[in-house]
């Protein structure tokens, strides 16, 4: 009995000490809704597995991505098939390199391109759009016409030109993708800002005398986040696709570096020799990653939908 009384006293003390009620933010609400969405959660798990594979996959690799297996060179169709015994888990490519290591390398590059492209879009596009939308008037007009002009130039042409003129490098690819990726985002952010800036909480901030930049960063941008996050998750696969297309054309990343697009290109070229695994493995990772991103994007959109509060 003594113990019980003590416990009760402690409990009462805890209650008294627990002064501040913790609030449930909109994001916490959204997180709860997101984790109730099965497709989105499965996609998140799959995507995490892909990321884990790309980071830690090397540790169980028998061959590095640069070594050439001289023993099977020239007989790839017969000896290069996926095989656990000789260490080529995903088989070997036409030059006798281990496809397992190559796919890991390609996954790293493709994911990086996607994430970096989306990040540039999110940061530059959101700020640009929010500033244009909030300032309004002539500034808005000039800023958005600038976006119009850049967008009216065929980006694939610019990208190819960039890669040809400055040489094919990963850095140039990032620059090229970064140049175009933020345009759509800035339009979306501006549109949302226009509807946000007439809300009373922004008016209240103006009436209080909060500085415009603070209003944008504190009141506008956090409220754009829902739309921006959803668009960003849909942008990542789009960036990966763009990079794959460029690499498929033979521009993009340069040997010995590789990406999913380059691997798929190689695999497709060698299909006729009966080495189907060279196409199937990169394609498999490519497809599950894109699917995951799309489902996560869908899940986020449903979770963050402000109408369903």
């Amino acid at each position: 009995m003594m113990v019980d009384v003590q416990k009760m006293e402690q409990f009462a003390e805890n209650l008294a000490a627990q002064e501040e009620v913790k609030g449930r933010s909109l994001l916490a609400d959204a997180r709860r809704r997101f984790f109730h969405n099965k497709a989105a959660v499965v996609s998140l798990i799959v995507l995490s597995l892909v990321v884990v594979f790309s980071v830690f996959g090397r540790t169980i690799a028998v061959w590095s991505n640069e070594e050439i297996d001289w023993g099977i060179l020239g007989q790839i169709a017969e000896l290069g098939a996926p095989n656990i015994e000789n260490g080529h888990f995903f088989g070997a490519d036409q030059l006798g390199r281990d496809l397992y290591s190559r796919v890991i390398q390609g996954t790293q590059v493709s994911l990086m391109v996607g994430v970096v492209g989306a990040l540039i879009a999110v940061i530059v596009g959101t700020l640009y759009g929010a500033i244009a939308g909030y300032t309004g008037g002539k500034v808005d007009n000039v800023m958005m016409r600038f976006v119009d002009i850049i967008q009216s130039i065929p980006y694939m042409f610019v990208l190819i030109l960039l890669l040809v003129v400055f040489g094919r490098s990963l850095f140039m690819l990032f620059v090229g993708i970064g140049l175009i990726s933020w345009l759509d985002m800035s339009r979306i952010a501006r549109g949302q800002t226009l509807s946000l800036k007439n809300k009373e909480f922004v008016e209240a901030a103006i009436a209080t005398g909060v500085k415009p930049l603070t209003i944008i960063l504190r009141h506008i941008v956090p409220n754009l986040l829902g739309v921006v996050v959803v668009y960003a998750t849909l942008l990542v696969p789009q960036m990966i696709l763009t990079e794959s297309f460029i690499s498929f054309l033979g521009l993009g990343v340069q040997e010995p570096n590789t990406s999913w697009g380059a691997l798929i290109n190689e695999g497709a070229g060698n299909m006729q020799y009966g080495t189907l695994w060279q196409l199937v493995f990169p394609m498999f990772f490519f497809i599950i990653t894109l699917f995951s991103f799309f489902f996560i994007g869908d899940g986020l959109r449903d979770a963050l939908d402000p109408k369903e509060r």
Binding site: E19, E20, V21, A204, A207, G209, N223
Partner: protein, 286 residues
């Protein structure tokens, strides 16, 4: 009510909006909407001036023009001897902490991504950036208690509060910089009747305690009558009547005011029917 210098006097305030017609060509002159047509009034220290009028008559526009949230075409706003209209942005910032505002929609006037504490602290952060975190928190808690919210709610988000509570947060935010005047833009219109009374009484208590001047905008005469010392009736941007609250309600001089008073619904059906008949007679007479 003190008979000394008015804390705020507005002289011949005019606000115009340009309205572009749809499909208009660029060289066509836009239409001009005169939202406020030369309004003048004084507000004494500790006084409440109620502004009434039907929707679209320029009440909110007038209020926003006074604190320069929208540009006015002409007029003077003398705030403690200085003209607000001629101030540069830096001087204006100093005034912003003395004149605060409460808004109509309680939920929409609070940023949904910030906690109640952060919202209330914002004016303090803007005007006194050097206030320490503990000091800020202390002030916020103090004010929350003052407006009738539990200080335990400091970490809650706006959507977790009821309409009346949200409006209390709005009031706390307006009070944190110790303002001399508060502009209340229809602060109770979006609340239900019982909560309206609570919020109005809270405002009156705070006014008495802190000696605030209030500019109280509403379209509901019964609320305005309750809180105001004087009432200004606006009719399409013009002053229809300006006078002592009791006089305006019980002895209205302008026909517009009479119509407004008659438009206040009564819960008694028999009285209501009588008044409808009266109103018809009045309309037939004019």
């Amino acid at each position: 009510m003190s008979k000394s210098e008015p804390i705020l006097s507005v002289r011949d305030m005019r606000v115009e909006f340009q309205i572009k017609k749809q499909n208009a060509l660029p060289w066509h002159k836009p239409d001009i909407l005169r939202a406020v047509k030369g309004v003048s009034f004084d507000l004494a220290e500790g006084e409440t001036l109620g502004i009434v009028g039907e929707s679209g008559c320029g009440k909110s526009t007038l209020a926003r023009a006074i604190i320069r949230m929208i540009p006015a075409q002409a007029g003077e706003v003398i705030w403690q001897g200085r003209d607000l209209m001629k101030m540069n942005p830096k001087e204006l910032l100093g005034i912003r902490k003395e004149i605060q505002m409460i808004f109509q929609d309680p939920l929409a006037s609070l940023n949904p991504r910030l906690t109640a504490g952060q919202i209330i602290a914002e004016p303090l952060k803007t005007h006194f950036p050097k206030t320490s975190k503990d000091e800020t928190k202390k002030r916020v808690r103090e004010l929350m208690e003052k407006v009738g919210l539990s200080a335990r709610m400091i970490n809650r988000y706006p959507h977790e509060f009821s309409g009346g509570q949200c409006q209390r947060i709005g009031i706390a935010r307006a009070l944190i910089t110790n303002p001399k005047m508060i502009i209340c833009d229809e602060p109770v219109s979006a609340l239900d009747v019982s909560v309206q009374a609570q919020v109005v009484n809270l405002l009156m208590d705070l006014q008495k305690e802190l000696g605030l001047s209030l500019l109280f905008i509403a379209h509901d005469l019964s609320v305005v009558k309750h809180i105001s010392n004087r009432i200004m009736v606006l009719e399409f941007g013009d002053i229809a009547e300006l006078g002592d609250a009791h006089d305006v309600i019980h002895n209205p001089q302008s026909p517009y005011t009479r119509e407004l008073i008659n438009a206040v619904p009564t819960p008694d059906p028999i009285v209501e029917r009588q008044r409808i008949a009266e109103r018809r007679a009045l309309a037939a007479g004019t």
